[in-house]
Amino acid sequence: MRQDSFPACALIAENLACRRGERLLFDDVSFALRSGEAIALTGRNGAGKSSLIAMLCGGLRFAGGSLRVEGGGDAPLAELCHLVGHRDGLKTALTATENLVFAQALLGDDALSAQDALAAVGLPHVAGLPVGYLSAGQRRRVALARLLVSARPFWLLDEPMAALDAAAQTMLTGLMRAHLASGGAILVATHGPLGLDGARELRIGA
């Protein structure tokens, strides 16, 4: 079963700046993401939402500012985060189960088994199919199932609702609520409503 609650921890970002090539995407972005909180990251296309998320999980260097984690032991931030972005991190030649078993072995902190996680996202019947055969929405759901196979306090989601049907959006909202209730924290880059009460909005870019 999932671990009941995460120890209190907080992700504190101060005056982050991001530069891609010669262009300054954003600067002076500050926020604190604490246990049980959700932040909706908004902004126009190209404002740097995905870049901010890439910075948080270590895929992109900062042009300025600082980032620290309070609580959560001595693990670096990248090892406390789950990332589900536009690139879904799935191998098309492997089955959904194989992808999830691999993610679990790689990320550690085992929570649900691959089968249970697929059932939780409503895809128990595709477990044995190569991911390449799945539709865009189904693939997104398999990627979201990764959040459940390994328990990590911070979820960084980049447009998680894209390609999901109405039922799957409700399912995702439910997963996010459960994660917040167990002491996790979520940062979601989004254009639409999330259905989460008390989610703060962080708007970047002009």
Partner: protein, 228 residues
């Protein structure tokens, strides 16, 4: 929190996944082997029916063929993981990036270098390789191909972010493989005849491989960290 166990679990997971991918996607391994076969088959046609000449340059042909076959698939080593986001997943693991590179290199060698070395004696027949040279040629390929994998891994890591890396990796890597080629061929030739004992170039080849595994791994991990 025991690092050792979670590290070895993640390490084995990467090796296992890459082996499964190589077996399933029909890429990498077999393609290199078929390419190797093609090169070795073509050379006798180009040289004509001079068996003495063929058997004299046989080891060199086999080594060149193996080298080129290793290089053609290398650009996909990290590029495919970068494109589908698997590299982000690997970065999010507690496993140090160096060990992740080592795991991927190991899987690459098992699916490319090892089959090439095992196939070499068989293909040696096509270039009239003398019987006593079969084992030495396979042996030099066995210990020399890890160097090609890990020198190549450093090049592949540099090109991981390029959308159309294509030929840049072989062009980048080929000059760095010259020492491997020199000592590999010279060890294989010394088994057929000549004045140097087999072990002298063979041990240097082993040393090059060991050094390449260390340096290539660290260099590739550094290149992946710079990835923007």
């Amino acid at each position: 929190m025991t690092h050792d166990r979670s590290w070895s679990r993640a390490f084995l997971a990467i090796v296992k996944r890459d082996l499964a991918l190589a077996a399933r996607a029909g890429g990498g391994g077999e393609l290199a082997l078929v390419f190797f076969l093609t090169i070795v088959v073509l050379v006798p046609f180009a040289l004509g029916p001079d068996l003495n000449l063929l058997s004299k340059i046989g080891p060199a042909i086999l080594w060149l063929g193996a080298l080129l076959s290793m290089l053609i698939g290398l650009d996909r080593l990290f590029q495919s993981d970068e494109e589908d986001g698997s590299l982000d997943l690997i970065r999010a693991s507690a496993l140090p990036l160096e060990l992740a590179v080592l795991a991927k290199g190991l899987a690459h060698w098992l699916t490319t270098g090892l089959p090439l070395a095992l196939a070499a004696p068989l293909l040696g027949l096509l270039v009239a390789l003398p019987a006593q040279a079969m084992l030495p040629v396979a042996g030099t390929l066995l210990v020399g191909t890890p160097a090609l994998t890990f020198v190549g891994a450093a090049g592949a890591a540099l090109a991981a972010g390029l959308r159309r890396g294509g030929l840049i990796v072989p062009v980048l890597v080929a000059p760095l493989t010259v020492p491997v080629l020199i000592f590999g061929v010279s060890a294989a030739n010394s088994a057929v005849g000549g004045t140097i004992p087999f072990l002298t170039p063979f041990l240097i080849l082993c040393a090059i491989s060991l050094a390449a595994i260390v340096v290539g791994t660290v260099a590739a991990a550094a290149a992946l960290r710079q990835g923007d």
